[in-house]
């Protein structure tokens, strides 16, 4: 049996195809103007990698911000449940998942079976989301994926005093005009991001093991700072892209529901 999960977020769309208990293929694209368009494109890419067509899928679950608008999905489930389930499937010892998306961040507590127990989230303020890092990368004039590597080279990170993305952008622009070192600024930004995430995680409490999902999980400086402020180890998904965990969780639910 073939199962699929499709996660349409605010910035990226992801699809995962599973055959019984193993991942066959996955995809990750930048979103298109309409969620159904994003979902179709992501799914088509995953299907062609697996040499399958839409008719081969026995059950598909959609998730994410656009989950209710996906015509080919049999049902939809909140991304909170999907991230919890997906992370737990890859690393069964996971009890806390921190998902950092393009426009929100969530802390999710799961039980020993991967079921969600509790969560806290911020989707009102861009601080502590992927958008914050995008703005900072642009302000510093570096590519988003270079922000982490740039930050880890710093020995003297700057202190960022503000919380708001716009205020921090202004703060960083002032630092640039003062001639501050770019890696020190990148490191300060990573710290500010981790501090902000910490306030969300604290609301549910952290229980080990901990994993980070979403695009920001790829920023090594943010993850390092998060380890420090939370005082815990953060486990890696190794060969699985942390950005597809939500879609993976959706595919796992698809299997359960079929």
């Amino acid at each position: 049996m073939i199962f699929a999960g499709c996660d349409v977020g605010s910035l990226t769309a992801k699809a995962v195809i599973m055959e019984e208990d193993s991942i066959v293929s996955s995809s990750l694209i930048r979103v298109r103007p309409r969620p159904e368009q994003s979902a179709k494109e992501a799914m088509d890419i995953a299907l062609s990698k697996a040499e399958l067509s839409l008719e081969d899928i026995n059950y598909c679950v959609s998730t994410g911000y656009g989950r209710e608008m996906i015509p080919f999905a049999n049902s939809n489930i909140s991304e909170l449940s999907c991230h919890g389930r997906g992370a737990h499937w890859v690393i069964p010892s996971i009890r806390t998942v921190i998902d950092i998306g393009g426009q929100d961040c969530k802390a999710i507590r799961v039980d020993e079976r991967g079921n969600m127990l509790n969560f806290a989230m911020n989707d009102k303020c861009s601080a502590g989301t992927g958008r914050f890092l995008e703005i900072m990368a642009k302000t510093l004039g570096v590519d988003l994926d270079k922000l982490g590597p740039l930050a880890v080279t710093s020995k003297t990170p700057v202190d960022v005093i503000n919380v708001c993305s716009v205020f921090i952008q202004f703060e960083v622009m002032c630092m640039i005009s003062e001639g501050k070192n770019r890696s020190d600024m990148a490191a300060g930004i990573a710290r500010a991001m981790a501090d902000r995430l910490n306030t969300i995680v604290k609301k549910v409490g952290v229980e080990e093991d901990v994993a980070v999902t979403g695009g920001v999980a790829k920023n090594v400086a943010v993850v390092n700072n998060l380890k420090e402020v939370l005082g815990v180890e953060i486990l890696e998904f190794k060969e699985i892209d942390p950005q597809i965990i939500g879609a993976l969780g959706a595919a796992l639910f698809a299997k359960e529901r079929s």
Binding site: C125, R131, S165, V166
Partner: protein
């Protein structure tokens, strides 16, 4: 007595010179370059406009985020105090002042002597700030100063749901992509700014006359939305509302000399 007032804000520097209690001249320069150079240029502009030389200035009061960029002798003045004194000087009947600046907004209740009694400030979040309007203007390729009149020409105001300035900007782009009229979008944005500011004033309690200052006070649509949501008339000073803080800074510095 010749006094100078400097209000170095996060988006513009405002310099005024007062001579014997009247306004001799002023300058407003947006901060796009190095702030220290902008401040120096702005001061030189006012000096040449008024024909006053720097050595004639008997006192200088400075306020705002960027006072550290002033290279000559000045006294540091508290922004709340400056706004209160400045608004009292410009509109003596003012009892509530709402200053809407580049990054922060401040609501102050003042007494009949221009003394601040109580205030509320938002200097943590850019929601409803001048910067938010600049971001939207940039995204829509408009001039910030045109947003007010454009809003008034709207037929059907869009509803902006985001509070965060960054998310608000994305929401605006989504409305453009969905084919909404620019005027309708801008009207939604200016309305949301006015609505957000009204909650700051309500936390303080509005008194008549209510006066608005700062760069955003020049946006007629924001002022209108503010009036609608707080239920009282909101006056805008006849002279440029953006220089009220700088006027107050000059007044504060003059007062120190008298003591």
């Amino acid at each position: 007595m010749i006094g100078m007032g400097c209000d170095v804000g996060t988006s513009a520097t405002k310099i005024i010179i007062m001579k014997d209690g009247t306004m001799a001249g002023y300058d407003i320069t947006p901060i796009k370059d190095r702030p220290d150079q902008v401040v120096e240029k702005s001061i030189n502009k006012v000096l040449s406009k008024t024909g006053i030389s720097l050595s004639d200035i008997e006192c200088c009061g400075a306020t705002g985020w960027g006072t550290k960029f002033l290279s000559f002798d000045h006294t540091e003045e508290n922004l709340i105090k400056c706004l209160s004194k400045g608004v009292h000087w410009a509109v003596p009947t003012a009892r509530t002042v709402i200053d809407i600046g580049g990054l922060s907004s401040t609501a102050i209740n003042v007494n009949e002597k221009g003394k601040s009694m109580e205030y509320r400030i938002n200097d943590k979040c850019a929601s409803g700030s001048g910067r938010f309007l600049e971001m939207v203007a940039g995204a829509l390729e408009l001039k910030v100063e045109d947003m007010g009149s454009l809003s008034l020409s709207a037929k059907e105001r869009v509803h902006i749901t985001s509070q965060c300035a960054v998310f608000g900007e994305s929401e605006v782009i989504a409305h453009v992509n969905a084919g909404r009229e620019v005027a309708d979008i801008v009207a939604g944005v200016t309305y949301s700014v006015g609505l957000g500011l009204s909650t700051l004033i309500k936390r303080l309690g509005v008194q008549k006359d209510c006066v608005t200052t700062g760069g955003v006070a020049k946006n007629v649509a924001v002022v209108k939305a503010l009036e609608e949501n707080i239920g009282v008339e909101v006056k805008v000073p006849h002279l440029d509302p953006q220089i009220i803080g700088a006027i107050g800074a000059a007044l504060c510095a003059q007062e120190r000399l008298k003591v």
